[in-house]
């Protein structure tokens, strides 16, 4: 595979982003091509680097909460106490994911007002579903022979869960977390329409003043953030699969 060309592309792209954040004036002439001569070229109503950090923080917070809730819920419905909730939770997962993120976001506003609050809640609610779905699939599809062997070797229910089921389910759960985090980056971007502090602010400001340079730099930064998160979690996932392989053989 062209792993090397991928790495080269990503490194160059990352360096370009860092250079833009540190020295935006280097890019002024290039961005200036997209706007009228008297328009501002680089977004200065807020520090771009801080917006990037706030965007990242919002996504991290939401994904952490969503992960904890989703995994707990998935464990609950796969135990005998919670089995009554299994049919409903599977339906909720498939129906819930048809809800557009914008709708979830917009409907949080009347309850929570404007700002980071509704965005965080929308990110958590929407981010839950892919993680829950993957955790559920992973826990349901573990080979019964493996579970039987765990029970046979004298493990208690909780030992079986922590030492056998969770490790086996982990790669799929991580891929759910990756999906959820990438969706969250996108939803957080739209969150700036309800006054959340994210990079979406730059794009929205550009759309309001027909400033294509703002739209472009906001778009590139958001894309970079999404790719960074995607790649990081992908690496974690691949590592985990590699670690598992000798065990399952």
């Amino acid at each position: 595979m062209q792993i090397t060309s991928g790495i080269v592309f990503r490194t160059l792209f990352g360096l370009g982003i860092l250079a833009f954040l540190a020295r935006p004036e280097w890019f002024e002439s290039a961005l200036g091509l997209f706007v009228d001569p008297n328009m501002p070229v680089v977004y200065r109503q807020g520090n771009l680097f801080f917006l990037l950090l706030q965007h990242l923080a919002l996504v991290l917070a939401a994904t952490t909460v969503a992960t904890l809730v989703a995994i707990t819920a998935a464990i609950f419905v796969t135990r005998s106490v919670g089995i009554d909730f299994m049919p409903l939770s599977r339906s909720i997962v498939s129906i819930g994911q048809t809800f557009p993120p914008v709708a979830v976001l917009a409907l949080c506003v009347p309850v929570l007002g404007f700002g980071n609050g509704p965005t965080l809640v929308a990110l958590i609610l929407y981010g839950l579903l892919p993680i829950f779905e993957n955790a559920l699939t992973a826990l349901r599809t573990i080979d019964p022979a493996v579970l039987e062997a765990a029970r046979g070797s004298g493990m208690s229910e909780s030992q079986k869960l922590m030492r056998v089921e969770m490790p086996l389910a982990m790669p799929l759960i991580i891929s759910g977390i990756r999906l959820s985090a990438v969706i969250s980056v996108a939803t957080a971007t739209i969150g700036s329409t309800v006054a959340a502090k994210t990079l979406g602010e730059v794009i929205v400001a550009g759309l309001q003043s027909y400033n294509y340079a703002f739209i472009l730099q906001g778009g590139v930064l958001v894309a970079a953030l999404a790719l960074l998160i995607h790649d990081t979690l992908m690496i974690v996932e691949l590592r985990m699969q590699r670690l598992r392989r000798p065990v399952s053989n």
Partner: protein, 389 residues
Amino acid sequence: MIKQRIDKLGAVIALIAMPALLFVPFVTFKANRIVHGQPVSVYSALPTWAAACLTGVTFGVLLSAMIKTGVLVRVLAACLGLVTVLIAIGLAAIHLTPDGNSFVRVSTASGFWLMLFALSMLLIDALARLRPQPVARMLLLLGGLLTIAAFVMSGLWNELSLLKEFSTRADGFWREAWRHLALAVGSLLAAFAIGLPLGILCYRVEKARAAILSLLNIIQTVPSIALFGLLIAPLGWIAANLAGASELGIRGIGAAPAFIALVLYALLPIVANTVSGLVGVDAAVSNAAKGLGMTDGQILRRIELPLAMPAILTAIRIVLVQNIGMATIAALIGGGGFGVFVFQGIGQTATDLVLLGALPTVALALCAAVIMDALTELATRARKETATA
């Protein structure tokens, strides 16, 4: 013994719905569209007889939900509860609106939504246990849509703020609905026309596969509004600097960047599923076809593509649902669609306007999901039948 007769899920649903009925405001009353609303409970919002009926029916439904009963009983109980709540919300709006006063706004409040949520969970759970066949699922969907249409047509909901927002912009509503559908379905068709050949190419030429799929993966990762933004700048530049481009409808802001972005997003599911569908075709089958003297093109058209159909249909389902959701964001860049109402509503902090945009979007996505799921299941079954025949 009694412990075994209690349905856990029903108990949880009752724990949500009972307090919602008794203690949470059912509607919000506003003297006009702009002022702050006052919460009104079920018992002040409805005439006494109606409040008594609603309470009685809700308690009955929840009691039946808490006891382990047949699935069909639960379906009927949930439907009865839902219809009663939907009638009650219309009656509350009529009851609270003084005759001839067109300024007063009565909106749905959290109590109503909680009850609706709890009863829907009851219905969804019962339906999930019933496991209806694909055709039955589509009929159920049709039934649900007809019920809502009947409510809207009957005039029972006319005094609700949501319906007032609708009636003041009925023309705009249908225009945006049409644009939303055109954007979502049009980009699906375009993506299909590009993605299917691309998928076949990826299947045949293994070297191209990894490169194309990883490029499409990167595109999929880029958030929609960012991708819109990345397309706006070059399209705007083309429109400004290339003679005749703007006459063709190519503009930086508008439906063009939204359409292109939706097509780009749709390519990954279509290409990836076409490839996996084709890869999954049993080699013995295509070898047998080759033995019968079929050409590669014939094998592809008559054997491989039909066998890959369920996977391709699954991709169409994913894309359609995804497009319907993302088309909402097109409104931000002037592309129209239901998002127009959502973002106007956010701007005016008018919840009912947000709902006017959000509810049809959700309904549309849900219909697309149910219909496509049913079609995929029917296609898979047909395939299995021909395989065994």
